[in-house]
């Protein structure tokens, strides 16, 4: 595969990878927004409802990131442009590794936090998710702080991710941004 010319099919992500990327992007923005909003609400039925929705969506994102990692392990992403310096390549790989790590760690801390706080998660109100910890309020508070702190790191990393994508598109004028867009494959084929 690597023996092909530079404009090889491997320059774009697979449709599955793109689909997972964009579904998760939308869900993660929603989850962060909802998380920040619901935390400050006074105790109310709406607050309980939003917490449940947040947990359901969080569990969904956790399942999706595992599927995405499994997919990625079998479908290597396209190589970075040769115009990138070794430092920039290291930054890109490091940034992506951080994003994956956070996409796993954040739902996991949310799950652990729910267990420790004694309010287990029932996925969509139907499927109970096993408790990984026994009830322990102090540990619950610690996990809540961790969940929140990791999200601030996540927000910063996402801003860098989005900023880098636009920098590649507008300044470097390479295909880093477009190769993740839904119609890139079709355009290159023509």
């Amino acid at each position: 595969m690597s023996g092909a010319t530079r404009i090889a099919p491997g320059r774009s992500y697979t449709s599955v990878a793109k689909l997972l990327h964009w579904i998760m992007a939308l869900m993660i923005f929603g989850l962060i927004g909802l998380g920040l909003y619901m935390e400050g609400l006074p105790f109310s039925p709406d607050k309980l409802k939003y917490y449940s929705w947040h947990k359901w969506a969080g569990v969904t994102v956790f399942v999706l990131v595992l599927a995405r990692l499994a997919w990625r392990a079998r479908h290597r992403p396209p190589a970075l442009p040769t115009t990138m310096s070794p430092l920039m390549r290291a930054a890109a790989h490091g940034g992506h590794a951080a994003l994956y790590l956070l996409m796993v760690a954040i739902p996991l801390t949310g799950w652990l936090m729910s267990s420790a706080k004694g309010v287990p998660t029932v996925w969509f109100g139907v499927l109970p998710i096993p408790d990984l910890l026994d009830k322990n309020e102090d540990l619950g508070d610690l996990l809540q702080a961790t969940h929140k702190y990791l999200n601030w790191v996540f927000i910063a990393t996402l801003l860098a991710h989005i900023g880098a994508a636009f920098k590649h598109h507008l300044v470097d004028k390479d295909d880093i941004l477009t190769r993740m867009l839904p119609n890139f494959t079709r355009e290159t084929k023509t």
Binding site: F43, S44, P45, D46, L48, K49, Y51, S52, K117, G118, V119, P120, T121, V122, F124, G125, V126, E137
Partner: protein, 195 residues
């Protein structure tokens, strides 16, 4: 009626004990009086957005009189300190003291007073009575089992109540889509043998 006759039964038993102090009463089954609050629990289970949660009242007290030979003469008054609630969600523990919930400032205790006890066999009973919460009284029939544990008696049972019947959760909470109406109450009440 029952309360009076039980009061009489209790005082009769007491006088009998005084008069025949030295005599063995072992031919007669032991009867029980007085609740051991520290060994008694009242807990509840409820559903919030499909999640089952457990709560408990940490403080309760009451009077009880029970002669296994004459269960129909038994009586009980149980008083629960509502402010001693733990809901299973820390944030809710203080919330449920408010007016929309138990309004513990005006109605600090929930009270159950028995009116009739019916034996349904094998240490099982149906206790009819009145449950009062937040100024509202409703008739209830509560199943209970009786067993002995050393020289104490343990009465255990569970029943469902509807929080809406007692206006527990008003305003935004009056709908049952987020927090279910049904509350499963479980009690385990210890009583000491009468002397």
């Amino acid at each position: 009626m029952t309360t009076t006759s039980n009061g009489f039964a209790a005082s009769f038993a007491l006088s009998a004990g005084l008069v025949f102090g030295g005599l063995s009463l072992s031919a007669h089954a032991i009867d029980y009086e007085g609740i051991i609050a520290e060994q008694s629990t009242v807990s509840f289970r409820y559903t919030q957005m499909g999640v089952t949660l457990d709560g408990q009242f940490r403080q309760m007290d009451g009077q009880l009189s029970f002669d296994p030979a004459k269960p129909e003469e038994a009586s009980a008054v149980i008083e629960i300190d509502l402010a001693s609630i733990t809901t299973g969600m820390r944030e809710a523990d203080s919330e449920v003291q408010d007016k929309a919930w138990f309004d513990t400032g005006n109605f600090p205790t929930a009270r159950f007073e028995s009116s009739a006890v019916t034996s349904i066999g094998e240490g099982r009973f149906e206790v009819a009575g009145t449950l009062s919460i937040k100024g509202m009284s409703r008739p209830v029939v509560v199943p209970a089992t009786f067993r002995t544990d050393g020289d104490i008696a343990v009465f255990e049972g569970q029943f469902d109540l509807l929080r809406g019947d007692f206006s527990v959760g008003e305003g935004a909470w009056a709908k049952f889509d987020i927090l279910a109406n049904e509350i499963q109450v479980h009690f385990n009440i210890a009583a000491k043998a009468a002397r």
